[in-house]
Amino acid sequence: MKEFWFRFYKNKLAFAGLIILLLFLIMALFAPLLAPYDPYQMNPGAMLNAPSSDHLFGTDQFGRDILSRIIYGSRISFKVGIISVGISLFIGVSMGIIAGYYGGILDNIISRIMDVMFSFPQIFLALVIMAVLGTSSTNLMIAIGLVYIPIFGRIARGSVLSIKDSLYIEAANSIGVNNLVIMLRHILPNIMAPIIVQTTLSFGFAIRAEAALSFLGLGVEADVPSWGIMLNQGKDWMEMAWWNAVFPGLSATLAILSFNILGDGLRDALDPRLRNDID
């Protein structure tokens, strides 16, 4: 573990990613304290104001403070990220472990379902699910969660296949440990590394998907301050008030980028092929 932290710390880029994400997280958690204005408060006297000392990132067409809306927008991004990644993590990893451990017909059924889900472009699949379920933030989280299940499924299944013939699994079997306990106690902890990496990367995907779907009007409710909705509304005022679209776009990009470099850094730090094992 110490070794891992050292290796991770040495990776400056990934460390920067972690810091930025922590800042975003603080922003989301303490939004009411940090935001200078109420994000819903319209102000007819300050419509489409350019960035100034009063409104750091300017105001939108209703006079709402863009900085405050971005700060509140990080809440919905993280909420969607955590819940939808949670859904795909839980379902995907369970299915992957079951498929990899039992093999045979069960593996075939689960893997083919994953293949079918994989064959659709992810955003398209999320769009279809949203169209069926209807727009609401709950449905959005379900849709994004469902879409990323097969990624976790495949990673878990592959990792299980690589360790399920290990002697310590056979040893557990020879002791008489039942299959569920073998999967939870012996397999899961030993396949965590690639799953942790994928979870981090998936946060980025989920935030992107949330922004994209909200941009298309199939995401969260239209009055919620979300980076995607802000982008959508801002694009109409691009020529007169560039700050309306640029700042939400930048924050989304920064958050996604941070998750990606953090994920890459974690992968480098956790990858056993790069590690020179002393034992």
């Binding site: 290990s166 310590y168 040893a171 079997n173 020879s174 002791i175 306990v181 106690r185 902890p189 034992d279």
Partner: protein, 336 residues
């Protein structure tokens, strides 16, 4: 000669008083794989091809043979870690082969395994106190005294209790094998299959582990099936030795008997290959020529006839029966 006779007497006593713990009849394991997509030929690897032997309570039965002869497969078959193709295993009056999944899991506390590779057989993410406690946890034993029992077990195998919270990678190969043995003992088993437990260790450590296993056998009244390819190791620890060749047992007798008077030509060749630590002694080696035939397509008749210096016509056509050639000395060879 007198010595031999005395040994014979001892052996006879041994066979009379001991009860049989395991009776193995016609045990077979064929690995079948299909070659080609649709109408491929069936490829049948006869890893274990008809074993008949008994294991007595409290003894150490050594199994030797070249790599690929089916020793490890035999060990795993006896514990039903892999399913046999055919045959019967009677464990202390219980028909192991007919047990359902749930009953088998419960039975598993009575027979355990010690693995060859101590680096791979311990879960790297578990502390050793949890590794050793796992069999008790699984079978619901020693509910309140589990911690104490773990300490006792580790002490019995020579691991200090101050290491309880460490992970496997913090130990040396010999120490890990000790932990593996402690785990195998945790559920108070009667029978332990040791699959080349010292093959991965240094020679100096090998002796320590073998002595430990001997001591534990006396202390807990264990029965061992000890698999190895190193003849000196097997001789050191075993009461009886079975020699395997291409999935079949070719000779089985008390360990002294087999070393003093090997019957099967394969056993003779194996024994003459043991190096003696004396440069003055010129050994007359019986060298075997050729390779071990593939178990996919074993030779007809006696599977050893392709390499046997004494082979004659009958060996090519007729499979020799594994029978009691002399008292308590089994062999499968047409010479006797």
């Amino acid at each position: 000669m007198n010595d031999l006779k005395q040994k014979d007497e001892i052996q006879k006593g041994f066979y009379q008083h001991k009860e049989k713990l395991l009776k193995i009849k016609n045990l077979k394991k064929h690995f079948i794989s299909q070659k080609g997509l649709f109408f491929g030929k069936e490829v049948r690897v006869k890893a274990v091809d008809g074993l008949n032997f008994d294991i007595y309570k409290g003894e150490t039965l050594g199994i030797v043979g070249e790599s690929g002869c089916g020793k490890s497969t035999t060990g795993r078959l006896l514990l039903r870690l892999i399913e046999a193709t055919e045959g019967e295993i009677d464990f202390d009056g219980i028909d192991l082969m007919s047990l359902g999944e749930r009953k088998l899991k419960k039975m598993r506390r009575r027979f355990q395994m010690v693995f060859q590779d101590p680096f791979a057989s311990l879960n790297p993410r578990m502390k050793i106190k949890h590794i050793v406690a796992e069999p008790m946890k699984t079978h619901g034993l020693y509910k309140d005294k589990r911690k104490k029992k773990v300490e006792e077990l580790l002490e019995a195998v020579g691991i200090s209790r101050s290491y309880l919270n460490r992970y496997p990678h913090e130990f040396s190969g010999g120490q890990r094998q000790r932990i593996g043995i402690a785990r195998a003992l945790a559920a108070d088993p009667q029978f332990i299959v040791a699959d080349e437990p010292v093959a991965a260790l240094d020679v100096s450590i090998q002796a320590q582990i073998l002595n430990l296993m001997n001591d534990l056998q006396a202390e807990f009244g264990l029965t061992y099936l000890f698999i190895a390819h190193d003849l000196s190791v097997v001789q050191y620890i075993s009461d009886r030795i079975g020699v395997m060749y291409l999935g079949k047992m070719v000779e089985l007798a008390a360990s002294d008997l087999i070393y003093d008077k090997p019957l099967h030509p394969y056993t003779q060749a194996l024994l003459s290959a043991i190096p003696l630590p004396d440069p003055e002694v010129k050994t007359e080696r019986e060298r075997l020529t050729g390779e071990v035939p593939s178990p996919i397509n074993p030779p007809a008749g006696c599977s050893f006839h392709t390499r046997c210096p004494h082979a004659f016509e009958r060996c090519q056509t007729e499979t020799p029966e594994f029978r009691e050639v002399e008292e308590n000395h089994f062999a499968a060879c047409h010479l006797y």
